[in-house]
């Protein structure tokens, strides 16, 4: 039995060499499809991270009534913290808020506001974040009902717009990836079927001289495994090195905008898993599928 398996691997390898052109076609179909998929995957993972990052910024600004006493304020904080789905509550004093405002308006208006610093008419503020950023708006609504709360600025318009935008982007992205995977499978199965189609006569002859189905199938299978493995290794290496180079080179550009690239380490293993898993699956599946049709003894 052991010798048999060896024979089949030897034959599979021989076939790869012998059918040079067909091998190249299958290999490139697998390789290119996995390359596209891999690139999409890397982009998707970064986009996911980006979206997490953005939604992580969402918050509810809670303004106290001017009349609220420190103890009432503390109680309100406790009440908010007790609400379900609250991730964090941060207190911002009117002094701090004034500085933030000054900063955000821009330096050229410094003079404008400097007169106000003495008689600070700003209310104290709380910054509340939700565990699920999509619940931010709902959270803001419940907080607005608390007695000591004057106004709530939940950025509901921004948040809603953002979420709608992200939804659209995600849906397009998802459709694209699903389309790609289907395309990949399809193109590869095409290639394999055509490859095999041209070997139909061979398979027929093998059967006629008494080869069992498995005897015929094995070399196709080992061939498929080899094609799958090689077809995954090449795009994996390409993406890995290209990404590493890009990370060190343009990572900074992204970073300064706000969205850090994911490090290669955390992407590499997932990428390898998907590419090799899919490559081997496609190769083996192609190997089996391809002969199946012609093995009705």
């Amino acid at each position: 039995m052991r010798i048999r398996i060896l024979r089949h691997f030897r034959e599979g390898f021989k076939n790869l060499i012998r059918n040079g052109w067909m091998t190249f076609a299958s290999l490139s179909a697998v390789g290119i499809t996995l390359l596209i998929l891999g690139v999409t995957l890397v982009i998707a993972m970064n986009a996911q991270q980006m979206s997490n990052y953005i939604t992580g910024q969402l918050q509810v600004n809670v303004f106290y009534k001017m009349t609220a006493t420190p103890s009432q304020e503390k109680q309100t904080i406790a009440e908010i913290e007790a609400m379900p789905g609250v991730k964090s509550v941060q207190f911002v004093s009117k002094q701090q808020e004034f500085k933030d405002l000054q900063k955000s308006i821009g330096s050229q208006y410094n003079d404008v506001l400097s007169g106000l610093s003495a008689n600070n008419t700003l209310p104290d503020k709380l910054i509340v974040k939700a565990v699920d950023p999509r619940k931010t708006v709902a959270l803001g609504e419940s907080i607005a009902k608390l007695p000591q709360v004057d106004k709530v600025q939940d950025g509901s318009d921004i948040a809603n717009k953002l979420f709608r935008f992200l939804d659209v982007v995600r849906n397009i992205g998802l459709a694209f990836v699903i389309g790609l995977v289907i395309t990949a499978m399809f193109l590869i199965s095409n290639t394999i079927k055509i490859t095999i189609f041209s070997r139909r006569r061979e398979i027929e002859i093998m059967r006629l001289v008494g080869a069992t189905n498995w005897f015929i199938r094995w070399p196709f299978l080992t061939e498929g495994i080899l094609i799958g493995a090689i077809g995954a290794a090449i795009p994996f290496a390409a993406i890995f090195f290209a990404y590493r180079a890009a990370y060190t080179k343009v990572g900074g550009a992204f970073m300064s905008i706000a969205f850090p690239l994911m490090p290669i380490g955390s992407i590499g293993s997932k990428l390898a898993l998907v590419l090799f898993g899919l490559g081997l699956f496609i190769g083996i599946w192609g190997g089996i599928m391809s002969v199946r049709k012609f093995l009705k003894v």
Binding site: R18, I205, M206, L208, V209, G210, T212, N213, K296, V297
Partner: protein, 228 residues
């Protein structure tokens, strides 16, 4: 060894290739199958190794009941038979020697034994000098002889040959016939479709004549018949 009972074969196209064939071929018999072009000789032969299945009737080959034979078991049947196909059916990507070796690998013989045996049968058919040549680079007669060698290599109990001398000159044809005689003498059953009147009339054996899908003549030590 080979038994057919009222066998009919109609191809999906509607052609009735065989119309009620009943025949019995015993162990170590040597049978010629003759008949005009399109009479049904090849169809008759294809039923034996189950390339085609009968529309009706019972067939028993080497103890296999063709009707009941499971797909899985067909390779076993085919291994017990050596077939020379009318169109050779050599694997185009394998050399002469590899084509013959393939029939041996299929039944799990070790590489060492295969090598020795392949060399031997190539000598039998006079093609030792073409060992490593691809079929497309062999002459018609050379391809036919490789097909003969492949049919013999596993020492099958039955050899079925469809016009094994069609592309051979008389001298080489006689060489192949002597080879068949030698193998037949060792107890192998031989069924051979042929158009070669010379051979049939000289090397007298049982003759089954088929016309329009029916056996019209079955003679022990017969002649080719069909006077021109």
């Amino acid at each position: 060894m080979i038994e057919m009972q009222d066998v009919w074969k109609e191809y999906p196209t509607g052609t009735r290739a065989l119309n009620g064939i009943s025949v019995n071929i015993g162990k170590s018999e040597f049978v010629y199958v003759v008949g005009p072009s399109g009479a049904g000789k090849s169809t008759f032969i294809k039923l034996m190794y189950r390339e085609e299945r009968p529309t009706k009737g019972h067939i028993f080959i080497n103890g296999f009941n063709i009707e009941r034979l499971k797909n899985r078991k067909v390779p076993l049947l085919r291994r017990s038979i050596g077939v020379v196909f009318q169109d050779f059916k050599l694997l185009p990507n394998l050399t002469a020697a590899e084509n013959i070796a393939f029939a041996q690998e299929v039944i799990g013989i070790s590489q060492r034994h295969i090598k020795r045996r392949v060399k031997e049968v190539l000598e039998w058919v006079g093609l030792s000098h073409k060992t490593d040549v691809l079929p497309s680079r062999l002459s018609g007669g050379e391809q036919q002889r490789i097909a003969v060698a492949r049919a013999l290599v596993n020492n099958p109990t039955v050899i079925i040959a469809d016009e094994p001398t069609g592309n051979l000159d008389p001298e080489t044809s006689w060489g192949i016939m002597k080879l068949f005689q030698r193998i037949n003498d060792r107890g192998t059953t031989i069924v051979m479709a042929t158009h070669n009147k010379d051979i049939v009339n000289t090397m007298r054996k049982r003759v089954i004549a088929i016309e329009h899908g029916q056996i019209v003549r079955d003679e022990v030590k017969g002649t080719y018949g069909y006077e021109d």
